[in-house]
C-alpha cells in the first residue's frame, strides 16, 4: 500500500521535482489569497459595521443583567429562595442594603424601570423606598412593609426573582404575548394585552398581499419589456427604474397627497360619481394605504428579476409550441410560464423579505391597522426604551424569515431562483 502510494507520488512530479499536488495547492493558494484580499475590505466593513452589532443587539433579547449588576446583595439570596415560601428577614436586609447603595450611586432609576417592565407600578415602589432606605432599621421586614405595603406581597418578590436572572426568556415570551413566571412556566397574557402575535400575523399578511399584487401587476409589465423592440423597452425600463432614484420618503408622501380624503384620487372619484363629496373613501392611514404604497414602492423589485429571466427565453419556444398546434394560451401557460418561474421565485422572495421589514411607509400612511411589526420594534427602541423587548421581537422576526426561506427552499428550491 505504502509502496504503491510512493510510486504514485513519484509519478506525479513537476519538471523541477516537486510533487504535483504540492505545487498545485501552492499555486492555487496564491490565487485564493489574492481573491480573498479583494473582498477583505468589504468583509471587514460588514462584520464590524453590520453582523457584529446585530448579534450584540440580538443578545439583549435573551440577556439583561441590570438587576444582577446593581442588586449585588439580593440576587444570590433570591436565587436560594423557592419563590413560594414567605420572604425571610435575610432577603429584606439584602434588599435594603442594595437600595441604600443604589440611592447613593444614583443607579436606582435603572433598576426601577427594569422592574417596572416585569410588574407595572413597581417604579415608584423602588424609587420612593430607596429614598427612605437609609433611615430604616432592623427588623427590616416590618419597617420596609411599613414604608410600602407592596413589599409584603409575594408577587413583588416573585417578580424580582424572575428579573434577577440575567439570561432569561422573559422578553422572547413577551414578544409572543406570553408571560414567564417565577415557576419557570409560560402563560398567555390576557386577551386585551395580546398585540404582538396579531401584529406578526398582520405583517405576514400585508407582505403576502404585496407579493401577490406585485406579481399580478408586474408580470405583464415584465412581459411587455422583454418583448418590445429594444429601443422602446429601454425607455420603459427607465420608467420602471425611475422610482429607485427618488427618495422612499418622497414616494410615500406623494401617496399621501394622492390617497388622502381631499386628495387627487378621491377628487377624481367625486368627479366621476364613484363617491359623493361627503362620503369619500378612506384610502390612507389604514391597511389600504399601506398596501397601495408598499406595492408601488416594491414593484420594481418584482419586475426586474422576472424581466431578466424572460429576456433569456428565446421566442422559438413559443413558436415551436404553436407550430405543434398549441393555442396562444396553451403555449403561454405550458411553455412560457414554467420557464419564468425562477424569475417569479426571485422576485417574490425579494419583495417578501423587503416587505416584511418595511418601516417608513407603514409609519407614515399606516395609521392604526396598517402598522407593521417593524413600527413596534421602532416604538420600543425610541419611545419606551425597552431595547430588550425590541431585540426579542427582531429576533423572532428573523427566525420567521429564515423559516419561510427554508420552506421556500424545500418547495421551490433556492437553485431555482434567478436574479438576472
Amino acid at each position: 500500500m505504502q509502496a504503491s502510494q510512493n510510486k504514485k507520488n513519484e509519478q506525479m512530479l513537476t519538471s523541477d521535482g516537486i510533487p504535483l499536488k504540492k505545487k498545485l495547492s501552492k499555486s492555487l493558494f496564491r490565487s485564493r489569497l489574492r481573491a480573498f484580499g479583494l473582498v477583505t475590505p468589504l468583509l471587514l466593513l460588514i462584520s464590524i459595521g453590520f453582523v457584529f452589532p446585530i448579534l450584540v443587539f440580538l443578545t439583549r433579547g435573551i440577556y439583561n443583567d441590570t438587576f444582577e449588576k446593581y442588586m449585588v446583595n439580593l440576587t444570590p439570596v433570591l436565587a436560594e429562595w423557592n419563590g413560594i415560601s414567605e420572604p425571610t428577614e435575610e432577603m429584606f436586609e439584602a434588599l435594603v442594603l442594595d437600595l441604600v447603595w443604589l440611592k447613593e450611586t444614583k443607579n436606582i432609576g435603572k433598576v426601577a424601570s427594569r422592574m417596572n417592565r416585569e410588574m407595572s407600578g413597581s417604579r415608584s415602589l423602588f424609587t420612593s423606598s430607596a429614598r427612605k432606605a437609609k433611615k430604616l432599621e432592623a427588623p427590616y421586614k416590618e419597617s420596609l412593609i411599613k414604608v410600602k405595603k407592596k413589599w409584603g406581597d409575594l408577587e413583588t418578590w416573585r417578580a424580582m426573582k424572575v428579573t434577577s436572572h440575567s439570561l432569561t426568556p422573559v422578553f422572547l415570551a413577551s414578544a409572543l404575548d406570553m408571560k414567564y413566571t417565577a415557576e419557570g412556566s409560560f402563560i398567555q397574557k390576557s386577551e386585551d394585552r395580546r398585540i404582538h402575535v396579531k401584529l406578526f400575523i398582520r405583517t405576514l399578511e400585508i407582505s403576502l398581499i404585496v407579493v401577490i399584487a406585485g406579481l399580478i401587476l408586474g408580470y405583464p409589465v415584465a412581459f411587455l419589456l422583454a418583448n418590445l423592440p429594444i429601443r422602446i423597452s429601454n425607455l420603459l425600463l427607465i420608467l420602471v427604474l425611475l422610482p429607485f432614484w427618488t427618495s422612499l420618503l418622497v414616494r410615500t408622501t406623494a401617496w399621501i397627497a394622492m390617497l388622502q380624503g381631499q386628495g387627487v384620487l378621491n377628487d377624481l372619484f367625486v368627479v366621476f360619481g364613484i363617491a359623493t363629496d361627503e362620503d369619500r373613501f378612506t384610502l390612507i392611514y389604514n391597511k389600504a394605504g399601506t398596501l397601495i404604497s408598499m406595492t408601488h414602492i416594491l414593484l420594481p423589485f418584482m419586475i426586474l428579476p422576472i424581466y431578466s429571466v424572460m429576456k433569456t427565453i428565446p421566442p422559438s419556444y413559443v413558436r415551436a409550441a404553436k407550430s405543434m398546434g398549441a393555442t396562444n394560451w396553451t403555449a403561454f401557460w405550458r411553455i412560457y410560464f414554467p420557464q419564468t418561474i425562477p424569475g417569479i421565485g426571485a422576485g417574490a422572495i425579494l419583495v417578501f423579505i423587503l416587505a416584511i421589514s418595511f418601516y417608513i411607509t407603514p409609519a407614515l400612511v399606516g395609521g392604526q391597522d396598517g402598522t407593521m411589526i417593524s413600527n413596534f420594534i421602532d416604538y420600543h427602541m425610541r419611545k419606551s426604551l425597552n431595547w430588550s423587548l425590541a431585540a426579542a421581537m427582531g429576533g423572532v422576526l428573523l427566525v420567521i424569515i429564515l423559516f419561510l426561506y427554508w420552506i421556500y427552499d424545500r418547495v421551490v428550491g433556492i437553485d431555482n431562483m434567478k436574479l438576472g
Binding site: 428565446p314 422559438s316 419556444y317 413558436r319 415551436a320 409550441a321 404553436k322 407550430s323 405543434m324 398546434g325 398549441a326 393555442t327 396562444n328 396553451t330 403555449a331 405550458r334 411553455i335 414554467p338 420557464q339
Partner: protein, 360 residues
C-alpha cells in the same frame, strides 16, 4: 387539389419597414412529398419565406396556399405544419417524452394512442432509451434527433426545417443529412428546408431554390444547379467557379464567342449574356480544366501556387490576367511535373464554359 402544388406561393411579397422588400414577388410550387431546399446567403429572404409559410410572419402581398387552400389568415397553430428550429427549441422544463407528448396532448389524443405514437417517433430516430432525459442532458446530435421526432410525431404532411444542422459539428452534420434524407424517403412527407450550406442543399434535396436579394435566382435539381447555373450568382454560390471577364464578339446559335482582356477568343455556351459588344462572365468549374494540353479553348497559364489536398491538387494559376484561377488536378503521377512559376497551357470544352451575365 392538384398534386403538383401542395404548397403554393403566388406573387408573395414581404416588407418589414414599408420601404424595402425582403421578398420580392415570390412564385413557388412545391409538389407533395418533395424535399425542397431554400438556399441563400443570410438576408436573402429564405427564412422569411419559411416563417410566412409557418404563419409567424404575414405576407404583405400575395397568397400562400397549402393543399389548395389559402392559409394567409389561418393562425400557425391551426396550420398543422411540423417545424424544426435552428436551436431545436426543445422545451427545457420537460423531458424528452413530455416534449414529444406535447403536440399530441394539445390535439387531445387519448393516452394510449399518444404512447404508441411517441414510441414510434422515438424508434424512428433511435432514441427510445432517452425518454426520461431532459434536453440539457442530451448531446447536440441527440437534441437534433428529438427535435426531428417532435416535428414528425403528430404526422404532419408538411415539415419545415430552419437550418436545423447549423449548430452541429461537421461530421455529425453530414451524418444527420443522410438520416433526414432517409427519413424523408421513408415517410414521404413534404419537407421545406432552409440552409445557407450549399453542400447540404445539394446532398439532401429533390429541388433547390437559390435565393438572393429576395428573389429566387434559380429553382432546379441539384445536378442541374451545379452543371447549369443560370446566372453568375448561382454559379458562384454553388461550388467553386472560375470567372473570366470577356466581351461578346459573336453569337451563333447556342455558342458565344467572346474576347478576353488579353485578346484571346474563347467559345462558350450561351446562357444569359446579352448581344454582341456587351460584357459577360465566362464560368468554368475548376475540375473541368485540363492542364498542359490543347483543347477547344486554350489559354496561356502560369502556376502561382500548389496546395496539396490529398485526393487532388489545388493549383492557383494566372489565366487571362486572373490570378485566382483555380484548377483542381486529380492526384495522379503527372502532377509532379507542376512547379511554381511553370508556364503552361490550360484548356476546356466549350460545353463546360458558360457565358453568364456580367457580375458586378
Amino acid at each position: 387539389m392538384a398534386n403538383n402544388s401542395f404548397v403554393k406561393f403566388e406573387n408573395v411579397q414581404k416588407s418589414y419597414d414599408g420601404e424595402t422588400l425582403v421578398v420580392k414577388d415570390l412564385n413557388l410550387e412545391i409538389p407533395k412529398g418533395e424535399f425542397l431546399t431554400m438556399l441563400g446567403p443570410s438576408g436573402s429572404g429564405k427564412t422569411t419565406c419559411l416563417m410566412m409559410l409557418a404563419g409567424f410572419e404575414t405576407a404583405t402581398q400575395g397568397i400562400i396556399s397549402l393543399g389548395g387552400n389559402p392559409i394567409n389568415n389561418i393562425p400557425p397553430h391551426k396550420r398543422g405544419i411540423g417545424m424544426v428550429f435552428q436551436n431545436y427549441a426543445l422545451f427545457p422544463h420537460m423531458t424528452v417524452y413530455e416534449n414529444l407528448s406535447f403536440p399530441l396532448e394539445v390535439r387531445k389524443l387519448p393516452k394510449r394512442i399518444r404512447e404508441e405514437k411517441i414510441k414510434r417517433a422515438l424508434d424512428m430516430v433511435q432514441m427510445n432509451e432517452f425518454g426520461n432525459r431532459r434536453p440539457a442532458q442530451l448531446s447536440g446530435g441527440q437534441q437534433q434527433r428529438i427535435a426531428l421526432a417532435r416535428s414528425l410525431v403528430f404526422e404532419p404532411e408538411l415539415v419545415l426545417m430552419d437550418e436545423p444542422l447549423g449548430a452541429l459539428d461537421k461530421q455529425l452534420r453530414e451524418h444527420m443529412q443522410y438520416e433526414i434524407k432517409h427519413l424523408h424517403e421513408k415517410l414521404g412527407v413534404t419537407v421545406v428546408y432552409v440552409t445557407h450550406d450549399q453542400t447540404e442543399a445539394l446532398t439532401m434535396s429533390d429541388r433547390v431554390a437559390v435565393f438572393n436579394d429576395g428573389v429566387i435566382q434559380q429553382l432546379a435539381s441539384p445536378p442541374n444547379l451545379y452543371e447549369k447555373p443560370e446566372n453568375a450568382f448561382v454559379a458562384q454560390f454553388i461550388g467553386e467557379n472560375n470567372k473570366i471577364i470577356a466581351q461578346v464578339v459573336d453569337v451563333k446559335g447556342s455558342v458565344v464567342t467572346a474576347k478576353t482582356l488579353k485578346g484571346n477568343l474563347l467559345k462558350s455556351k450561351k446562357v444569359n449574356c446579352d448581344t454582341v459588344g456587351s460584357k459577360t462572365t465566362l464560368s468554368i468549374r475548376p475540375e473541368r480544366i485540363n492542364v498542359g494540353v490543347k483543347g477547344e479553348n486554350t489559354s496561356e497559364a502560369e502556376v502561382l501556387e500548389l496546395i496539396y489536398i490529398g485526393d487532388h491538387i489545388r493549383c492557383r494559376m494566372n489565366v487571362e490576367g486572373d490570378e485566382n484561377f483555380i484548377v483542381k488536378i486529380p492526384n495522379a503521377k503527372k502532377v509532379s511535373n507542376l512547379k511554381i512559376g511553370l508556364k503552361t497551357k490550360v484548356s476546356w470544352a466549350t460545353d463546360d464554359c458558360r457565358a453568364l451575365d456580367r457580375l458586378a
